[in-house]
Each structure stands twice: as structure tokens, then as C-alpha cells.
Amino acid sequence: MAQIGQFALALAFVVTVYSIAASLIGIRVKHDKLIASGRNAAVGTFVCLTTAFLCLVYLFVVSDFSINYVAGHSNRDLPLYFKISAIWGGQEGSLLLWGWFLTGYAALVMIQNWRKHTAMMPYVTAVLMGSSLFFTSMHLFIANPFNQVVSIAPGGARVPFVPADGQGLNPLLQYILNAIHPPVMYLGLVGFAVPFAFAMAAMLSRQLGDTWIRTTRRWTMVAWFFLGTAILLGGKWAYVELGWGGFWGWDPVENASLMPWLIGTAFLHSVMVQEKKGMLKVWNMVLIILAYTMCLFGTFLTRSGVVSSVHAFAQSSIGGYFAAFIVISLSGALYLLLDRLPLLKSENQMESIVSRESSFMFNNLILLASCFAVFWGVMFPVFSEWIKGVKITVGPPFFNRVNVPIAIFLMFLTGVGPLLAWRKASTNSLKRNFLWPAAFALASGIVLFVRGIGRPILKAPEELGQALFQKLLGYSFTSSFYALLAIMMSTFVAVTIVREFYKGARARSHGTGENFIEAVANLTLQNTRRYGGYIVHFGFVLLFIGWAGQAFTTDVSTEAGIGDRISIRQYTLRVDKLGVEDTPNYQSMKATVSLFEDGVKVATMGPERRRYKAGEQQTTTEVSIWSTLKEDVYVVFSGATADGKRANIQVYYNPLVMWVWLGGIVLGLGTLIALLPNKKSGPRKRPQAADRTEEQKDVAEKVS
């Protein structure tokens, strides 16, 4: 099976080269048949990599330890589902997965669009296959997953060797959500290759209208959806598996996935301005180039080892190749952009600062500022080491100080955008739209402030931070104050969204006679992009509330014997039992803990500490979480005393964490709705022909 996989990789390489050559020569000599052949070759590359991937799956399932990659990342006692997820547990397999997804996207794009955009598609083929060539080369020459295990015989000869068992999968990766986290992440990162390819094709073919944007809108949303889902899955993994009580630690690799997501979010908003008003053409090109570059840069960060990270297990020597690929892609794209600048002139001007398009522009600038702050924080240790020879670590306080105010302002813009009209909004319209959301936001702020949340602390000037606004006001803003602002902004946005649905459904039901529920459903299904977008915004509101709860996290760490009690807020934990469990894969020490809320038992918890038997016998903490809408009680069993009678227990009280996961689900749901095609309206509900005729009359009047 390894031979078939090896052959499929070699064939994929040859076919990719042919596809690029056939597409480019076909365009040059205007040879339609050659172009069609290049397209088929692109689909053929996907077939080859599918074959290679299935071969690798087979080798893992049957535990063929004659293959180096299988022996290094699996073992006989690993459950089947982890054997399969072990495929992307290391370098070679995850690169193969990346390449496979890329060619899969390419094949789908070819099949979907070939007859539609004939001038652009040969270039799309060439660009996508250009990226694919990098990955197929890596599979074949640098990180081949089908290499055999060899031992050095006396005399220096390399002879095949089959180990009795494998090294096993990294225990940190033996968590079911993390089994799907990498594929989802890759679907997101690779997905940005599609809009990037269309953008390049638009510039190469000089078809610089909005065709490339309309064609790739859904593809971009798919990539954005997968990337966002992967970030949340990663957060859930960190929360459950790493045992430090949080879900986001501004780790360089977390940041690496956040950066393309931030730019992708900006892009999804700014394309609307180009579609509606023919503006921001250069900006959109810049954004998609940056988004794709950041996807590659994220992979470079993870693989190169230039920064320290919880993803240290993914480090390898291929960073240099990625760096070279990034430089080549970015240089080519920027050269093309500069060359085509005269063709990317805006069709309209920004008419007013108080308009929807300007709010989108602000949102873009804020998202980019946030991305830059994250980039700077990630790369500062590297730059400082290059320049001064000293690695200066940038930790969560820096990221929080910069990004928290940015996120609050962004949430404000999320509420403002839909309230403003395109072109220009008068004071009258502003009053009409802002009154209720602002009133609710203020009311929520007053209620929380009265309850003691968010009160800034008056401090002497020398005690204050460096920020100018803190000095001017004479206050130190605590995280509680930011939480207050975050909840006020969330209320503001939630009210605007509810009002958008309410007003839309009311207007619709007046016109059609539908009842309110029907009107809401049809309104959403007939304009999925807008109302799906609102649902996405609502998901963010929930996520934001959950995030604000982090300001009130507390924890307690203690050594406890059987029968001892630990108190945190309204909860009491009692250690009932300390035991040992043995499975083929690992041995674990487990504490059985009863959880009481205000004296009433609500749960039995079982935090563990595991030692995995394969390979280096790594240990992990398996936390136990009692989760409600109000808060999580998060228990970590960090170890036992030498006599095994007392346990080191750490308990975290984390408010509102469930809102983060609920927000993620709503966000995903909203994105799926936005991806649906608009439902066609019936003639009674939306007499399009009549509208058009009326419009024609209106236009005729204007002309005369």
C-alpha cells in the first residue's frame, strides 16, 4: 500500500506540473483544448492525492510500523478513531491533508465554474495548481509520509526495519475535539486559496469587475466559517486538555490562526462596498492577498519553531520552505497589484462619514489594527532577538491591553453598521435608529454599575498606567470596567439585531399578510446574506458576553485528603476518593470529588492525571468541568503526595464560559444560513416584474 501511495504522490507532482503548463500555454496560444486538458489535470491531481491519503489511512488502521511516519505517531493500543486522527498528528500527514484539501477545493471550483468564467478559469487553474505544486513537492521530496523505517547495519548499510510497536500519538492530541480541530483548521486556511486564486486570475485576465468577488463570496464564507470553527475548537481543546483554566492564552499559534480570520472578516465586509458601490477595489485585493499570506504565515509559525508555543509538537525543519513560498507568492501578488492599479479605479466616492460604507471602512481599519497588534506581539520576541540578541517575551497583558479596547469598539461598530443607510444618514434617521439600542445599553450599564461591576479605581498619578486617557481621567481601568463596557456594547448590538428582525418582519407581514413568525422565516430565507449575517453578529454578542465573564475568574489551589473540603464562591468541593485506573493506552490517578452549591450536592466530578504508556510516557491532566449558563467550576488534579493519600487540587470559578460555546454554535448557524441561496419569492409576495416596470417608468421620468 505504501508503494501505491508513493506512486500516487509522484503522479500528482507530474500532473500538477502539466496542469500549470497546459493552462499557461493554452492561454498564451489561445488553445481551448489545451486549457480544458489542464483543467482535467487539476482534477486528476485531486484523484492522485485522494489515493495517497487513503493509502495512509490504511497504513495507520493496520498499524504498519514499517512506515516511519506511522511508527512515529501511532501504536497498537491506540483506539481506532485516534489512529485515524494520528494521520494529521505530525508533519508529513498534516501536510498531505493540506495538499489534499487544496486540490479538493481546486477540483470543486473547476467543476462549479468552468462554463461560467471562461476568461478567468485558466488562470485560476494555474494559480491553484501553483500552490499545489509547492505542496506536492513537499510531499514527494521533503516530508514524504511513505518513507520506510530503516536501521543502520554494521558497515553503514541502511536496511528496512519493522519496530514491534509505534511511538504513539502525543497525549495532548488524544482528545476527540482535537481530532477534528486540525482538518477544520486546514479547511479554513486552505479555503482562502480560492478567493486568492480568483483575485489573481481577475488581475491576470484584466477582468477587474466584481465577478471574482461574486464568484468567491461563498467560498470565502466557507473558509471563514471553517477557520472560526477551528479557532473555537482549539479554544475548547485548550480549556479541556491543557488544564490552565482558560480557553485563549494569546499563544503564537492561536494568534497565527486569528490573524487570517481577522483579515477575512474585514474582507467579507468590504466586498459588500465593492458590490454595492464599486468602491474599495484595491483595498479588497490587498485584503485577500494579506489573508492568504497570513494563512501561509500561520503555518510557517507553527512549523518553523521561530516562536515558543503550546504547539511545539508541530515544529520541524520545513519553516524555511514555507518562508520562501510566502515570499514568492506575496511578491508575485503585489507586483501584479501594482501593475494593475490603473484598472482598479473606484467607481464612486465616499459621500459621508455617517454612512454604512464608512462604518464598513472603520470596521476594516479596526480589524486590521487588531491584526497588526497581534502580529507585532507575536513577532516582537523574534525581532528583539534579531536586533538586540535578547528574546523579550510578549505575554497576554500586552495583547489584552491593546485588543480589549479594540474589540469593544468593534462591537460598537457591529451595532452601528446596520443602523446607517448606504450613502448618507441624516441626524433624523440616526435619532430614529439609535434611540432604543442606546437606551437599552445605558440601562444595562447602570444596572451592572449599581451592582458594583466596572467601577474604575481612583488612583494617584504615579500609580497610573502609561495610557494617555488613563492619566487624563485619573482612573485606572480594571478588567471589570472593560467587562462592563463589553456587556453594554453587547446589549446595544443585541437590541439592534432584534429590531432589524422585528421591523423587517412587520413590514413584510403588512405587505403579504403573513403572520409574524412566517414573516421572520421568509424574510431570513429570502435575504440569507443579510439576516444570516445578523445571526452571526448575534453569535458574537454571546461570545463577547462569555469573554467579558473572564474578568471575574477566581481560583484556589490546595492539597486535600479524603473528606477535606475546598470552598470557592457559593460552591464547596469534597474529596471522596483517590484511585488508580489502568487501561491498555494509559494509567491514571483519579480523584472523585463531590460538588455542593449552597450546601446542596449538584455533581460528582472526576479529575484525572494520566500517564500514557507508549513512547516517552507523557503525563496529562484531564480536568473535570461542571458547566452551567452562569459559570463553570473547573477542577484540575495536578498530582498526589508520595504516599498517595493527599491530592493537589486546583479549582477555577469561571463565569459565563458556556456563552462562548453557545456563541460559537449560533455563529456557525448564522454562517450556514448566509451560505444558503436566497429563496425565490412567490408572485403575490414580491411582484418583481411589476417592480421592474415601475422602476423603468421611474427611470424614464428621470431621463426625460
Binding site: Q3, Y18, W114
Partner: protein, 143 residues
């Protein structure tokens, strides 16, 4: 077995690559058709009309004041008027783009249906393959 599978895989890929090279000319499935001015105007028309529909809906929802609505709608209608005028001028003239557009549509239809049509050598209009004379200008058709 390994060799057989590798042979089948390479054969299938080779066939997929070669088939388009030996196809008959009239399939035209990847003929490069560039966007014309007429295409862009058609899309611009859709965008402008869509914007007006959105504006009307937002007004019905009560999100816009009467003053804002009338002003913006007037501007949008004027924009639409310009687009309609440009489309009219292309459609009424024997503009090259329009002719290309017409021919391309016909060729696309031909690819979809698979049935050949007769193109008039004089005015380039599409005719039924059974016609002996052009339905548009009356010129004799070559079969």
C-alpha cells in the same frame, strides 16, 4: 496487484488529460469568452435595481426618514437612468460588443443543447438548422 492499481490510476489520469485534446471543435466547453461592456452594464443594472429595492425595504421598515429616502432614491434612480441609457445605446447600435454577446449566447446554447444552429453569414443571427434563409435578414444560409 500494486502494478495493476498504479497502471489503472495512471491510465485514468492520462485519459482525462487527453480526451479534451481529441474532442471535436464544436464542444466549445472552454472557449475563452471575455466580459464585454454589455455584460458589465447588465450587472450594473442588477446592482442598481437591487440597491433601490433594498432602500425601499429599509424605508418601509422605518429605518430612513422621508427626507433621506427621497434624496437617496432620487440619486439612485438617476444612476439607474444612466445605466439604462447606456444599455439602450449599445443594443440599438450595431456595437461590436453586443454582436459578440449575441454570438456567444448562441454558441453557449449550442453547447448546452448539443444541436447545431445555422449562423447567418450576413447578420450573424442564429437560425434553426432546417432554415434555408435567415429569419432576420433573409440572406441565404450555408449548411
Amino acid at each position: 496487484m500494486v502494478y495493476l492499481f498504479c497502471g489503472i490510476l495512471s491510465g485514468a489520469i492520462l485519459a482525462a488529460i487527453c480526451i479534451p485534446l481529441f474532442r471535436r471543435d464544436d464542444t466549445l466547453e472552454s472557449t475563452i469568452i471575455e466580459e464585454t461592456e454589455w455584460d458589465l452594464l447588465q450587472r450594473k443594472k442588477d446592482v442598481v435595481l437591487g440597491n433601490i429595492q433594498d432602500l425601499d425595504f429599509e424605508y418601509k421598515c422605518g429605518k430612513l426618514s422621508e427626507e433621506d429616502y427621497q434624496k437617496i432614491r432620487g440619486e439612485m434612480s438617476a444612476e439607474a437612468a444612466v445605466v439604462f441609457q447606456e444599455i439602450d445605446s449599445i443594443e440599438s447600435s450595431k456595437d461590436l460588443d453586443a454582436l459578440i454577446r449575441r454570438e456567444v449566447s448562441a454558441r453557449k446554447n449550442k453547447t448546452k443543447t448539443g444541436s447545431p444552429t445555422a449562423v447567418c453569414p450576413s447578420c450573424r443571427a442564429q437560425n434553426s438548422p432546417t432554415n434555408k434563409f435567415c429569419a432576420e435578414c433573409g440572406a441565404k444560409l450555408k449548411h
